[in-house]
């Protein structure tokens, strides 16, 4: 166990976001796993389901380690958490390199999926609490920067990994070497976060807490937070928002192709890939843009926009989408920006409701909503599209029912957001003076 690294006098809070980014940009590589799939399939004779296994296990481990490791992260501080993330994430690649070299696929699943997945979960929540403590006046912007990094990680890794595989070769030796270089490079890159991260001194916190917009009143422990209706309302909000976003993201390329297949300007495979890239940009921009906006208009209002306007965008696509390509693209971009914004704004929403006391641990527990949405979103869209195809439908009709379901889910999320109220005082952690009074009364 280690004590959190306290900032020395004169430490700038603007050193904390790059520390957070060095971790999030690294672990965001997870969403570029698909680059390794084709070479793994040909080198180790795997099918598509098998080659997806390391990624799927990594995402499951992300949710589990964030949920169960959150309290440890709060107790031991961000440097401990970033070190664990660095060791697990890099070791995952090194174990995978050994697996590829010896043609033992189970080692890749264990390394990248299990060990690396723990690194993803601990790394994802590692800077959240610290950023909120440094930026109590702008928590949305601060966590938006870090969580944007998670989206940005795949943008870096995707071309980088592809370039590496084309240089080293797609056989098992080439893949092993690529895994080795990834493991070592990410270890060096993440070291910056470990070295730079600091928790604010009490004096610094007092100064930032008195800044306009900062409010550090209510404090609720993670154990108490999961007993409140507010936590579960937010859980539903996140789950619904993520499911709706994944609904587009999962089938983006075939969706735009199907929508305009019968039009005078059908969409080529190359243009569809460009559409997917544009959605990634919207997802990333939404993380920093909408999350920062939430500092100005409030968390509840921004989620009203994500869920309410998001439902409207889905309705527009369903009703008018095939009549206008720009309208279809615009609506999809807005939905994806809300998807990213939903992820990035939720730590600040948690801070508003539960305070900074154990906000990282509470955030970790809330991320189980992401795990469910990650299964639910693709399942709805793929299952329905397959069934509609079997029923002889084609074009936009393949997705109309899915869009209807997404609108319904967003409405459920909207209602859950409306039900969020301030946390009842019985869940609050007593302030030091109140705790002393309680102690005195008990001993009297």
């Amino acid at each position: 166990m280690s004590s959190p690294p306290v900032a020395p006098t004169g430490w700038s809070r603007w050193l904390v976001p790059p520390a957070a980014l060095s971790v999030h940009l690294a672990i965001g590589q997870a969403y570029a796993w698909s680059v390794f799939k084709p070479p793994l399939e040909s080198a180790l004779h795997l099918d598509g389901t098998q080659s997806a296994l390391p990624f799927q296990l990594a995402i499951v481990m992300l949710g589990l380690s964030a949920a169960f490791g959150g309290t440890l992260v709060e107790r031991n501080g961000p440097r401990w958490a970033m070190t664990v993330a660095l060791v697990c994430f890099s070791s995952g690649f090194l174990i995978s390199a050994l697996g590829a070299e010896t043609e033992q696929y189970w080692l890749i699943v264990l390394g990248y999926g299990f060990v690396g997945g723990i690194g993803l979960g601990i790394g994802y929540i590692s800077p959240v609490s610290t950023l909120i403590k440094w930026f109590p006046d702008r928590p949305g912007m601060a966590t938006g920067i870090a969580i944007m990094g998670f989206g940005g990680g795949a943008l870096i890794a995707s071309p980088w990994s592809a370039q590496m595989l084309s240089s080293f070769g797609g056989d098992n030796d080439g893949i092993a070497l690529a895994f080795l270089v990834h493991g070592l490079s990410y270890a060096v890159f993440m070291t910056l976060g470990v070295l730079l991260v600091r928790v604010p001194r009490p004096e610094d916190r007092e100064k930032t807490a008195s800044a306009p917009g900062a409010y550090e009143g209510v404090q609720v422990s993670a154990r108490n937070a999961v007993r409140t209706p507010q936590f579960w309302c937010l859980w539903i909000v996140l789950c619904m928002n993520v499911t709706a976003g994944i609904g587009i993201l999962e089938k983006a390329a075939p969706m735009i192709t199907d929508f305009f297949a019968d039009s005078s300007t059908p969409v080529s495979a190359s243009a569809a890939a460009g559409f997917v890239a544009l959605l990634s940009a919207a997802n990333m921009a939404g993380r920093i843009g909408w999350s920062s906006t939430s500092d100005l208009i409030g968390r509840k209002n921004i989620y009203r926009v994500y869920l309410g306007v998001g439902a409207l965008m889905y309705l527009l696509i369903a009703v008018l989408g095939d009549s206008s390509k720009p309208l279809f693209i615009l609506c999809a971009l807005v939905i994806l920006s809300f998807y990213g914004g939903g992820f990035a704004t939720v730590p600040a929403y948690l801070k508003d409701l539960f305070g900074t006391y154990e906000v990282g641990a509470i955030h970790g527990r809330l991320l189980t909503a992401w795990s469910l949405a990650g299964v639910l979103g693709p399942l709805i869209v793929n299952w329905i599209a397959d069934h509609q195809k079997d029923a002889g439908k084609h074009g936009p009709a393949l997705y109309t029912l899915s869009f209807g379901i997404m609108i319904g889910l967003l409405v459920i999320g909207f209602v859950a957001n409306e039900l969020v109220r301030p946390v009842h005082t019985r869940f609050h952690v007593p302030a030091p003076r109140e705790a002393a009074d309680v102690e005195r009364q008990q001993s009297a």
Binding site: P18, L155, S158, G274, A277
Partner: protein
């Protein structure tokens, strides 16, 4: 918000830290823009 007693030292560290994460991020964004432009030219 920090009580910066040696702003020059911290400023160079801040620039270095942001470059460390900004350079690969810029590379990722550049590649993304290249790919996204295919939607309009593909």
């Amino acid at each position: 918000m920090s009580n910066d007693s040696s702003p020059r030292d911290r400023r160079s560290l801040i620039v270095l830290a942001w470059l460390w994460v900004g350079a690969p991020f810029a590379y990722g964004v550049y590649e993304l823009v290249q790919k996204a432009s295919r939607l309009f030219h593909g």
